[in-house]
Symmetry: C2
Subunit: 302 residues, 2 copies
Amino acid sequence: MGGAVGLAARRANAALRVTGVTAKRETVEKARQMGAVDEATLDLRAGVQDADLVVLAVPVHLIPAMAQSALSAAQPEAIITDLGSTKAGVVAAVDELISKQKAQVRFVGSHPLAGSERSGIDAAPLVRLAGALCILTPTSSTNGEAYRQVDEFWKSLGMRTMRLPPGEHDAVLARSSHFPHLLAFALLQAQTDRSLSLSGPGLRDMTRLAGSDVSNWVGIFTQNAGELAKVTKEFSQEMRQLSVELEALAAAGTPGVEAARERLFRYLADARQRREEHFRKAPGAATEARADGAEPPTPEAL
Amino acid sequence: MGGAVGLAARRANAALRVTGVTAKRETVEKARQMGAVDEATLDLRAGVQDADLVVLAVPVHLIPAMAQSALSAAQPEAIITDLGSTKAGVVAAVDELISKQKAQVRFVGSHPLAGSERSGIDAAPLVRLAGALCILTPTSSTNGEAYRQVDEFWKSLGMRTMRLPPGEHDAVLARSSHFPHLLAFALLQAQTDRSLSLSGPGLRDMTRLAGSDVSNWVGIFTQNAGELAKVTKEFSQEMRQLSVELEALAAAGTPGVEAARERLFRYLADARQRREEHFRKAPGAATEARADGAEPPTPEAL
């Protein structure tokens, strides 16, 4: 994701110079070659010291330590932001660091909703920031001018932005992002060797997110465990209810079957229509249709 | 899917002539233009009467009626197969039709594991049959020579084939295909308007299958309701267990947190590795990597 931000910033001329800081020598070369950075370095201090804006692109459990390093290397006027998928814990930890050190450096939490299951510099060109949403999570201690500048930065990459309190961000994203990821892993665990070997493109699609970096997602699930537990428990009840409905449907020849079929139809049709409505008006929808070479089926096709 | 079979058969020279039968005038034109058929017609009798092999490409709940029409139109030497995602009910129904009518026409059930959430003739070029698996479901009444010819037909399109009793097919596919589809619809129903509007590519990926044709899937879920109920109930229990684990993880500062984190790591890492192992060796894997423009991350990247 760091590489994707670099690529987009250079394309959009959103920065005078983009400097990448990485732990891998190989990434230094690759980042330069793909044009994700003007220059790259293994030396965090050297990479950060002249920056106006420092973007922390590391897994959530590493953000506080990385913020600490950036704080001590950055100039006092610098602004720090991050790309973390959870915000309450991250923002509180970094705000506390800054407050304890009476640092002048200002921090604003960000979460661009544009990742993929692939990570590392090779995945950078696959990420589409333009048109995607970036959530900013200022708190009462966030500097207004820093917020404005970070907001401006994401907009200059073509992103839509919105602000949300960190806790509210985590509650909503537990449902819309963290739980779908957990589901992909759980769906794989629900397979037998036999069912895996007799699977098609459907299962591959539904488990693609389980190709995500495990440490990163253990960090996200841990940071947001409470909210995620609620959604997971709720979904467990929904699955239980669905299994009861399916049992009714399986009881062929009984009077309840027709009603069960009608309920199932409505359940599926409602879900499908919500998807159509949401992803058709969402900015990614047109791109999706283009990429696949065909228009999505219309609701009338039901 | 009918269009996809036509396209593949014409490319592979697997048939002297491919005739498409459709209910929509528009499809007649489109099928010709995209090369999915040599000729297409709205007249089932005319389309079927000279055929050596009739492929029924309709939703599972319509297969018996369509088989009846094809039986009465086809020459006695003809072989009929289908593309249905459930097999026990379909195969029993068609076998019974043939037996009742003392028809000479022979039937072999097929299920090529190669669909997508898109249906209709426009989706035909998106389906990759080559390299995918086709399951054949002969019964004790299936003619051996007909089985051999249908098997040969799928192989001539580049498909791998295997045979499975219809009931066993349905039990395995409930887990590997029907349940993942149900999950996509259920995941949408678990969203709020808010969470939908604050979602990214992850949720879009995980709900793509909910763009599938609803009538078709009501038919599939109904045909396989018993097996699907079992998998759904089992998954409900897994979700319940996961929610308990997440609650343990959320109880920060308690002695159980480290162990819970370790269990979560193993759970995710095991799932990810199963996916890597399966989809790397599966024929679709290379294509997937090519299409995305990047290699999937290696397990060592954990």
